[in-house]
Symmetry: C2
Subunit: 64 residues, 2 copies
């Protein structure tokens, strides 16, 4: 994704999130993302969005 | 976690995974992690591990 900010091209301006997993979990995550034909980053993004949707449905997370 | 490699203590040697989300999703993720009294990194780690467990139960991911 390429975003334009202040007339300069930037790789992306979406916030970055970092987490740490075991070698084994990372390896399985890569296989699982590949199984779903998605990048690891996109696969994790979808997991997070699904968790947010579920929490909102259950009323655990108030909207701003 | 403290790992020892080449006789030196390191903060962690767990692999890092990076992903990108919208500002809104990041904000909700932070609230949701806080709701569960976990760090964002730990919360995402658990989401990923749960997705792996589910995939393994459903036979979508072969063990090494």
């Amino acid at each position: 994704m390429v975003a334009v900010l202040n007339n300069k091209k930037m790789a992306t301006k979406k916030p970055r999130v970092v987490f740490y997993v075991s070698e084994q979990t990372k390896s399985k995550l890569e296989k699982l993302a590949a199984h779903h034909k998605r990048s690891v980053s996109n696969f994790v993004e979808v997991l997070v969005e699904e968790a947010i949707e579920k929490a909102e449905e259950e009323g655990h997370l108030k909207d701003d």
